[in-house]
């Protein structure tokens, strides 16, 4: 590829995508569906970190919270308020699911920023499952809660009658594009940021450029911390918006 060709000329070696390789945790060989891989390891680390924060951190059940407990309460309060503000009171029934999603994504993104870490949310397989789960459950929920009224989501009654069929087509397409954009937005952001950092880091091999490169990596890292949180927030708030559409299909 281009980077390899470039590498042959200058002695630099760029492997920005190597960090995303899925490898078996023990030995080498084929990756079966059950094989414990680096994905498995980092999924478990993410789960362990979340449990450490939300379960072990709140062990004291203190009226005046410890630091860890107040972080857990902050995460809880933020997500709770988001669900309440966007979907309304009747969306609070699905709060645990949305909280799970948010905590999972934010912890994957943040832990993925550690050196040598594997970012599970940079894989379209992972984000695709998350987005499809949201899409399927929200669609099923919409039909269960509203019956055929749910189709009113695609029939824009506020538009002139002539435009409505065209709008309906657009609405249906946009509805089905949701899981795609939902998943690719997250995975793309994660992958791009990590790859760019790797490329910048690769330039550090040249002594003249290395200060600039390190500066760029540092700046990029700061940006990525921001992106890691924002993408988790965006994913969650979009989930809330879709849930709101399912609960109240009227425009």
């Amino acid at each position: 590829m281009a980077s390899d060709a470039h590498g042959e000329e200058t002695g630099l070696s760029f492997h920005p995508m190597d960090q995303f390789l899925v490898k078996p945790l023990f030995g080498t060989g084929e990756v079966h569906w059950y094989t414990p891989t680096n994905v498995t390891l980092w999924l478990f680390i993410v789960a362990a970190a979340i449990i450490a924060l939300l379960v072990a951190g709140t062990r004291g059940r203190a009226i005046v919270p410890s630091r860890v407990q107040s972080v857990a309460e902050l995460a809880y309060g933020m997500t709770y308020k988001m669900v309440e503000d966007v979907t309304g009171k009747d969306g609070l029934k699905y709060f645990p699911y949305i909280m799970t999603l948010f905590m999972f994504i934010v912890f994957s993104n943040m832990l993925g920023l550690l050196p040598k870490a594997f970012t599970v949310t940079s894989h379209i397989a992972v984000t695709g499952v998350l987005a499809l789960a949201v899409f399927v459950s929200v669609t099923v929920l919409g039909f269960v809660k509203n019956g055929t009224h749910f189709l009113g989501l695609f029939w824009v009654t506020s538009a002139p009658l002539v435009l409505r069929p065209i709008l309906a087509v657009i609405e249906v397409i946009s509805y089905f594009v949701r899981p795609v954009s939902h998943s690719i937005r997250l995975a793309g952001n994660m992958m791009a940021g990590h790859a760019v950092m790797k490329v910048f880091a690769g330039f550090a091999a040249i002594a003249v450029i290395s200060p600039v490169s390190i500066l760029a990596v540092t700046a990029m890292y700061g940006l990525e911390v921001l992106v890691a949180f924002i993408q988790a927030y965006v994913f969650t708030i979009l989930t809330c918006v879709y849930l709101k559409d399912a609960l109240h299909p009227q425009h």
Binding site: D4, V22, E30, V31, W33, L43, F95, P96, V120, L130
Partner: protein
């Protein structure tokens, strides 16, 4: 539909096998996107679902109810404390009102006592003044009476002395003392003097 899916799955499986072997060959100089290596998808999806299930179970059963309980406890404690504070404030206000009332009562009471004392003292004073006045009047009257008596006695005494002196004078001149004549002569002379 199902058969279609099966054929699709079969072709996908073939593809993934090819991709897996390709990945095995080119692992060192891998250049494609590992994200599109479909052979790893079942693995990722399986472990993701396991992780999410565990997380969902832990969060919905343990973590979230616990945090909710802590938050509502805190809210309850805060509301309780605020209400207690409100109650104490009310009590303090009542106490202040009671204090003010007691103060005003005491002030009126003191005023009343002062008024009563003053009236009593005034009465006593009036009585004392009246007593003194009457005493003074009595004494004055007595003095006047005595002065009159003294004056009267002085007048009779002077007449007696004048008679005796006149009778003695007449006798020493060798005259014959006629008591009646002497008396009338003295009376005549005294008429002018003892006025």
């Amino acid at each position: 539909m199902i058969s279609l899916l099966e054929t699709a799955a079969a072709t996908a499986a073939e593809h993934t096998e090819e991709a897996a072997t390709a990945a095995g060959h080119g692992a060192e100089q891998s250049s494609g996107m590992p994200q599109l290596d479909f052979s790893t998808f079942p693995n990722q999806i399986f472990w993701l679902i396991v992780t999410l299930a565990v997380l969902y179970w832990v969060l919905s059963r343990i973590a979230l109810p616990r945090i909710a309980a802590v938050l509502s406890d805190r809210q309850g404690a805060i509301t309780g404390d605020l209400m207690a504070a409100e109650e104490f404030k009310q009590k303090a206000k009542e106490a202040e009102a009671a204090y003010d009332k007691a103060l005003a009562d005491a002030r009126t009471e003191a005023h009343k006592i002062v008024e009563a004392n003053r009236a009593e003292i005034q009465k006593e004073l009036d009585a004392a003044i009246a007593h003194a006045d009457s005493e003074i009047a009595a004494r004055t009257a007595e003095s006047e009476k005595r002065i009159r008596e003294i004056r009267e006695s002085a007048a009779t005494d002077a007449r007696e002395v004048a008679r005796d002196v006149t009778a003695e004078l007449v006798r020493s001149f060798g005259g014959n003392v006629d008591q009646g004549a002497v008396d009338s002569a003295v009376e005549n002379r005294l008429k002018g003097a003892l006025q």
